[in-house]
Symmetry: C2
Amino acid sequence: MSPQRPLRADAARNRARIMATAHEQITEHGAGVSMERIAAASGVAVGTLYKHFPNKTDLVNAVIAASFAPVADDAEDSLRRAGQGAPAMEELTGFLTRLMDTVAHNQAVKAAAHALNTDHAVHPAMRDLEARVTSALGQLLRAAQAQGELRTDCTVDDLYLVLSTFPTDQAPAARVRWLALVLTGLIAR
Amino acid sequence: MSPQRPLRADAARNRARIMATAHEQITEHGAGVSMERIAAASGVAVGTLYKHFPNKTDLVNAVIAASFAPVADDAEDSLRRAGQGAPAMEELTGFLTRLMDTVAHNQAVKAAAHALNTDHAVHPAMRDLEARVTSALGQLLRAAQAQGELRTDCTVDDLYLVLSTFPTDQAPAARVRWLALVLTGLIAR
DNA sequence: TGTCAAGGTGAATTATGATTCACCATAGAG
DNA sequence: CTCTATGGTGAATCATAATTCACCTTGACA
């Protein structure tokens, strides 16, 4: 499975289906889903999962990395728009709202990865995404403060602290209400 | 194990030690700890666990119920003090701070119970605790609003929504900071 | 102190699930 | 059209855990 030479067409197809199915199954049944079940739902044999991923942990990590990949792009797009004159605070809240949706949708996968990665290790791919988001978020934050829309004593860490705790299991309406309540504490008086 | 006649002295001792040990082990190793391990750490044989609890799920539910039992009393004490002239908002934030500590300390057990209780069922004992807390919290909330210390459009649901999301895995200092940030959004302007 | 039911023991049973591997199938290069 | 490396298969193996149970121990009451 080394990326040396490109995957055969059918292999690529299967790999994609496996990751999509794994996401569904984990979302539906939690981190406990068996490889057997994921294989069956993908329409392949267990052995095939192992042809693509050395073990369950790696499969889950691949799924989570793929699920969150778009977030970093989104953060950087928001920052770019702010740089081109869009109100920074609006970009910030817009990004946070979309981020909440993404995390909510991938909550089970996130939990699964956390449960399977022994000790506490975070997947390198996730570490990379996090770095990009942190950077973009920091700049957005400073821009919003410069425009007087955000408390100047609010740090990126504060933002993360608050962000890290939003209600993943609530309905979208409740999530929006939550964000509104919480942001009130961050907006400049 | 019916509560008909009191437990024999050694049995009571063991039962207490088992629950304490189970709490430790779950906190340290997650919901996945084996009964074997809990038994070993308690200094008894596996069979003994099953003499006291029909299965792992019931053991975990007993542990979590015991861990959270004091919270309801605390809520009611706070309410009582407010009724005797203590500032309601102070009682409210005091209670919330202590609640955060309790939840943080019992985070792993809470997660374990959630993971083990098939479907989504909440233990009846927990349901009862929740009802008492909700009641006390509602009255505290209204008192704080009557004293002009809290936004009047803030409901008990809002309080729960925000409460349900505090950062269990952060250091105490970070938790306090979080509460301060979030409460700012709830305090009357 | 003697009795015996409550309490304790831990090897054995039963389940479940991850991972392996010897062998089969076929994309796609030549 | 032929090969053959890549990809697929799934029964078998290995490991881990929950739960049971036939048989000991011992608190505590008479």
